[in-house]
Subunit: 249 residues, 2 copies
C-alpha cells in the first residue's frame, strides 16, 4: 500500500473475510513490531494469540460478541507485562521493584505502542485490524481465561483478518486546531468548543445515532448510552481491583 495515502485515509475495518491469517504472516508482523520504541529497551509487553475456536468463542463473549470479535479468526490480546522482566531480575541476583503504579504505566505505555505498531504493519500489509475497547471492561475475566500471572494485565485487544471487498467506513475527525496547543494549553471559549465539534454533530451517521436513540444531542448518545456513568464507575473499580490482584498497586 502506498504510504502517503495509507496514513491520510486509514479507517478501521470490522468485517473480515474467511481467509485465515497464517502463523507465518502474524509472526512476521509481531516480530517486526518489536522494533517499536520501548521503555529502557525492557519490552514490557506480551501478546496472547487466540486462534482455537473454543477459546475464540469464550474470548468473543468477553468482548460482548461484537461482530469485530466474532467475525475474526484471530484475536491478539496485548498485555502490560512486568512479570518476565521481574523473573529475570530474580534469577540475576537483582531485586525486582516493579510492584507499583508507575511500573504499570511504563508497561501499559509499552504495550500500547507495541499494539499500534502491529496495527500499522498489518494494515500496510493489506490486513484489517480493529481495537476491541471492551478489553478494559472484562480485563479480569480475560486475565482469568489466559491464566495471566502477577504483573501481567491486558490493555489492548486487536481482531485481525483479511478485509472483505466492502469499503471501510471513514469516520469524521475533529479539526487539527482542536488537538494542537502552542506552548500552553489554550482555554477555548464555549463558542469555540461548540465550533470544534460542529463537523462531528453534522456527520450523517452521528445524526442518525441521535435519532435512533431518541436523544436530543449527540453528546447525550455518549453520556447516556455509549459511555455512561454507571459503567465507567464499575469498570474503574474492577480495573483497579485487577491492578491490585496482579500486584501493580
Amino acid at each position: 500500500m502506498e504510504i502517503e495515502n495509507y496514513f491520510s485515509n486509514r479507517a478501521t475495518v470490522r468485517d473480515y473475510s474467511d481467509r485465515e491469517v497464517s502463523n507465518e504472516v502474524i509472526n512476521g508482523i509481531l516480530e517486526k513490531a518489536m522494533r517499536a520504541p520501548t521503555c529502557g529497551n525492557m519490552q514490557l509487553y506480551s501478546v496472547v494469540v487466540t486462534r482455537d475456536n473454543t477459546n475464540k468463542e469464550k474470548l468473543a463473549a468477553l468482548h460482548f460478541n461484537q461482530p469485530a470479535a466474532t467475525g475474526s479468526n484471530l484475536i491478539l490480546t496485548i498485555c502490560a507485562d512486568f512479570n518476565r522482566f521481574s523473573r529475570w531480575c530474580e534469577l540475576s541476583e537483582a531485586s525486582p521493584c516493579y510492584s507499583n503504579f508507575h511500573s504499570f504505566i511504563m508497561a501499559a505505555t509499552d504495550a500500547i505502542i507495541y499494539a499500534q505498531q502491529i496495527v500499522t504493519i498489518a494494515e500496510l500489509e493489506g490486513l484489517a485490524t480493529c481495537y476491541l475497547g471492551t478489553v478494559n471492561y472484562t480485563a479480569k475475566e480475560i486475565s482469568d481465561l489466559f491464566l495471566l500471572p502477577e504483573l501481567v494485565v491486558p490493555v489492548a485487544s486487536l481482531s485481525i483478518g483479511y478485509p472483505t471487498d466492502a469499503p471501510p467506513v471513514k469516520t469524521e475527525r475533529l479539526p487539527l486546531e482542536a488537538i494542537v496547543h502552542l506552548e500552553h494549553y489554550r482555554k477555548d471559549s464555549d463558542k469555540e468548543i461548540k465550533s470544534l465539534f460542529k463537523t462531528k454533530e453534522e456527520w450523517p451517521d452521528n445524526k442518525r445515532f441521535v435519532k435512533e436513540n431518541d436523544k436530543k444531542t449527540l453528546a447525550q448518545v455518549f453520556t447516556d448510552i455509549r459511555y455512561p456513568l454507571k459503567t465507567n464507575e464499575t469498570v474503574s473499580q474492577t480495573f483497579i481491583n485487577l491492578l491490585q490482584e496482579k500486584g501493580f498497586i
Copy 2:
C-alpha cells in the same frame, strides 16, 4: 523511506541537526496521525507543541536535561484529554461522566496510540523521534508549566527533529518467543527465562553498562540504577496525586 526496511530496522535517534521542523511539516504529521484508531471516535488526546526557546529550556529541565530533549528544537507533549469532550457534553445538554479511572485509561490509550502514529509518520518522512520516558516522572510539573486543566494529564513526550548523519544505534530485542503466548500465558521455567534474556546480557553495550556501574549482573543495572524501588514508589505516588488533582480518581 521504503516501508519494509523501515519497520524491520527502525531505531531511536537521539541526535538532531539544527535544521528546524517547519510548522507545515509538523502540522501535516499531526493531522495525518489523527486518522489513527481512537476510542469511540472521541479523540481523547491533545498535544502541546513546545518551540519557544524559554519554554523549551524549562521543559528540557523537566526531562532532566537529557540530550534528546536539549538537542531538539521541537518537543511534543501528548496528553490524555477528557476535558474538551466533557466541555462539549456540558454545552450539549449532556452530563459528562468521565471523572474516573476508566476514563483515564481510555484517554491515555488514545493518547499513546496517537503518539505512536506521530512517530511512525514522522520517521517515514525522514525525521527522527525519541520518547522521553521522563514525562511520567515530572508529569505534575509539566502539567503546571502547560497550565493543563481538569481531566488533562501528560502521558507521552516526543522530541522530534532532523537526524544528523550519524547512524542510529540499533539495540537488541528479545526473541519473538519471549513475547508471544499461544491461547494461554505460558509459564516459562527459570532456565527458559534465562535463555530468553541471553542475547540482552551478551550485547556489548549492556556488558559495558554492567562494568561501568560496577554491578554483577545486567538486571542489577535496572533494579539498582535505572528503575530503582525508591524512584518507582515516589513517581507512583506523585502520578496518582496528579490523577486526583485532575479529577480522574
